[in-house]
Assembly symmetry: C2
Homo-oligomer: 281 residues x 2
Amino acid sequence: MFACRKFLKNHFVAIAAIGAVCIFSAFMPIRTNEAKSAHPLEVGIAGYTFAKFDLDKSIAMMKRLGVHYLSVKEIHLPLNSSQETIDAAMAKFKAADINVYTVGVIYMKTKEAVDLAFSYAKKCGVTMIVGVPNYDLLDYAEEKVKEYNIRLAIHNHGPEDALYPGPKDVYDRIKNRDARMGLCIDIGHATRAGYSADKAVKDFKDRLFDLHIKDVSIAAKDGKAIEIGRGVINFPALVKALNKIGYKGICSIEFEKDMTDPLAGIAESIGYFKGVAATEE
Amino acid sequence: MFACRKFLKNHFVAIAAIGAVCIFSAFMPIRTNEAKSAHPLEVGIAGYTFAKFDLDKSIAMMKRLGVHYLSVKEIHLPLNSSQETIDAAMAKFKAADINVYTVGVIYMKTKEAVDLAFSYAKKCGVTMIVGVPNYDLLDYAEEKVKEYNIRLAIHNHGPEDALYPGPKDVYDRIKNRDARMGLCIDIGHATRAGYSADKAVKDFKDRLFDLHIKDVSIAAKDGKAIEIGRGVINFPALVKALNKIGYKGICSIEFEKDMTDPLAGIAESIGYFKGVAATEE
């Protein structure tokens, strides 16, 4: 018995470790190619990507890229547009099978800018604004969220942004507000601000409304825009996190490199993201 | 000691099972975002992709795409080029950080064509030819493989090809020949010929030298070239198969859509493949 006890004692750690490995193995996801997520991740475009192109050229590029979701930027449809102008633009998008799911990024430095943003969003028929309200306008923006029943996803802009450098700077200011106030996490700027994309998605999942996806050359202030997959952001981890939280929003590419000739870079970025998403499903 | 023996006897199956699970676990790829395959899959370009462009424009596109491996097509460097012409082209590739890892696809319908292909490959300094020899030239081609010590990867061309519609049509004709005779599996044509890419890779792993990767709209003769990820080929399964067999060759994109304006489609294809590969590692 002594020998047996000794055997068990000597091997207890090993046996416990074996047990732990087995339990761990049982909980490891067994991925098959047939298993598809109930909510496959949808790719969109953040309108700023096409800052150097007019509406028609932007639509033509989206058609070629096979992308059907757009966050309209005021470059392509000014904030003070009439209902008729907006309707005409929306008809063009519809004809190209493009779903305008939000507007932005819209900066709100005055009450008038908040008013304009919500009235514009309503005219556009969207249920969400991606915006950057000054701190002292958050109360007023919250009133408008309730009045219009339009969600506000606040966008972070990186270390040089005095208001919202990273996603936590947004979250901390909206977490106790109306549930229709949340985040559009810009994963490139978040990474430059020291917040990894996958961690941000998990940490702020209850208020994550929209995503601007991109890659950056280094995880520091001086990080430059680069094709998705060529930079430092861990996309398999991001997609895993999005699947884990059951993200149902859009993943909008915001490509800020080669802006006068961006098609190849956007295409590579979309391809990479879709490839990761197809494999992580 | 008896009790101990009894314990061991009673628990032998359990311990053996634990052991088996542990051994199995040890061989299961534990994917972490840091862990990279010992042989990450390398993306290249099959020269035919740039059929509508000259050498300099092709190199410029490869630089932009960040691709460093090329299968040179005679469109860009004719088979009867002098050593000086070939050296000048190779210097251009080297300056652009492009590794010419093979030549082809070269059709061999006569003994002279076989001679020319091997002499060209030698002048190019490559150790592999991607080719399509007529059946009655296989003996002669095998002699040349031995004489030059240059591998010959035979390329399949789909249902309409009288010689090698699918990869099995290649394999059956070389499996008992010199080990330096093998396959360049064109996964698009293979799929159109009814042979799935992942199955082909596994079935012919012992003679798989090169890959032409692409996607097709349907798995039938009429399938059309399409951006990788938009068609029917299961790339997660393909990458899994390549990792399983420990493929150490190049995965060369052969993009045959939008051939006068292919950059966006190639970029999307490369992005998708890299995204899958990054996730399956």
